[in-house]
Amino acid sequence: MTPARHASATASDPTMIGSGPVSSAAVIRLHDVKKSYGTGAARTPVLRGVSFDVAPGELIALVGQSGSGKSTLLNIVGGLDTADSGTVEVLGLDYHKTTERDLAALRNSSIGFVFQAFNLLDHLTCLGNVILPAAFTRGAVDVEARGREALRRVGLADLAMRHPNELSGGQKQRVAIARALFGSPKLLLCDEPTGNLDSETGREVIEFFRELNEKDGVTLVIVTHERRISSVARRIIAIRDGELVEGEDVALGPGGPS
């Protein structure tokens, strides 16, 4: 991963790392987002005024050391956590002005999540996990067919009726990806998606993300330590101690930037 690549990846993008002009068509718009945990003396700032935009079709690697706030940032973007202050606008929805119901609908229809720990429900089959979002959608049609299609896309069509505890780690992550893709999301948020996978499986997942981005135009934000992801990312956002890092080079190594 080189700075030159970053430069080329962002050359056509009006958004710069940490700051810059805001695109009106941005998928994600963050402005001065702050977040702390704890209260009083135990209060720990996690995000200290983060601002950046993500344009449609970008594949972004969000990198940083453990505890740097990247997962918190991803959760805030996904509406799974709330910012203490600042503006969060995703797919045109301003989180501070929206209702909990609209936010849930956004997660249901337009945002997909992929987690390091897969987060599959063991009592459901693979297909059951994939079509889980449909349970919260009014008037969902062809649910099972769409679920099977999502499984086919990740190469697990034959395992639709298996339970997660019968699958390997790589297969579980692919089921999780199929679930994330079920609603044909515009934005895919991935938190360390290859963290629990062997290198070969990790490579396949990364390749899948790249294809998804290039062929389907899905915007991806991937929290990662992986160099390989950074190599396919069209833009890297580095975060350290709750702030975006502005610099020429962000070198990645095992466990975080080195």
């Binding site: 956590d81 909990e100 119901r101 009014r138």
Partner: protein
Amino acid sequence: MMPVGNLTKMVLRNTVRSPRHFVLSAFGIVIGIASFVFFLGLSMGVRNVILGKIFPLEVVEVVAPRASFMGKDITKKLDDATVDLIRKRPEVKTALPRMALAFPAAGYGSFEGQELKFEVGGFCDGIDPSFLADDPRLGPLFKDWEAEEAGHHPACVPPKEGEQNPCADPEFYYCDEQDNACHRRVPVIVSPTLLELYNGQVASTHGLPVIGDLEQFVVQRGGLGRMRFNIGLGETMVAGSATTVNDKRRRVEGMLIGISPKAMPIGMTVPIQYTRRWNQEFSGDEAANTYSSIVVTLSDKDRLAVFSAWLQEQDLRLEDQLGERFATAIFIVTTLFVLISFTIVTISSINIAHNFFMQVSERRREIGVLRAVGATRTDVSLIILGEAALIGIMGGVIGVAIAYGGATMVDWASKTYLPRFPFKPPTYFDFQPWIIAGGLGFSTIFCVLGGFLPARKASRIAPAQALSQQ
């Protein structure tokens, strides 16, 4: 809110996947609802027998309390004016006077080959035939036949012992020794209480047949003519007392025509015109115009207290109301059982809350996943509340089934092992729809209440934290 169909499917799936949780949560509810339904059904069943058959609460008996002053009887007289006064009360539906025999009388005859003797004076009263007008079988028979057939009494010669009855229709008529004319036998009815006492006590000790259906019993023995007996007016069976009144005595014949709850409980009941004439004949005018009691049917049994208070103002009172005492006793016992059931279900509800709190803690990650894929806080709450409600409904259904099973066993044991006794019912239970609905509703509501706080906790779980849980 998520679609109801999807919510239902998810709730069912979650319940089925954790049978241990279901059993732990539902156990107390099942026991509580089973006891609730069982005891309420039992109370209603017992109530039906005691208050419906033995001591009907809607029907009360008004009497005049005994009073004397300076040795003189100043007891208020129950006459037609009193009856009219009572009939005008808004809480009174009907008021019918009863007139007891005011002099001794004795009954004798034979029954099933055995000689039968019994006291009638004190155990006989008269009621207006209109009291039985609504009975299609007894109504046409229970009449003042002397008035109906006045002037149409064919002459006869009273038969000597062993001679045939000379009257044209010997099944219904006898030859009266006083005027040598054929008279219709006095129609007599007895109460189900007396029949039950006969079946439960007399029949077994004297080797007599148990009477199930009196009509069938009569038909088998050749008709109503076989149910006749003599009434010795002015005679008595009570040892040591005078055997006649003013040396006057007369024999009439009676005939048992049927069973009616409107008959006096222990004794026999005839049309009031007979007792009025006999009292006139044996005890004079005052006895012929004074009623022993007035049977009042209330329009609403809940108005009893108002009516009772009014009676006291009139120097009258209600005959000792055993039914009321039983009703109170049944109410207390029922309340006690319902309270016990409530306690069990309340404890179960707390147990459910505890179980669901544990479940919510164990399912934090799952709840996080649901939120991530589009569940709102309300959806999460509804899922937990739905699971609690399902436990309530299923626990309620199982509880009701156990109550029914228990009731069936009790009835079977009673039928198989308990000897016959008065008013022994075919079932001790009356599971009215409101009891079943109450049991199911009660169970569901308490379970939902038990699930309320855990559901609130679940809805407040921060999805980001839940998903990062290891």
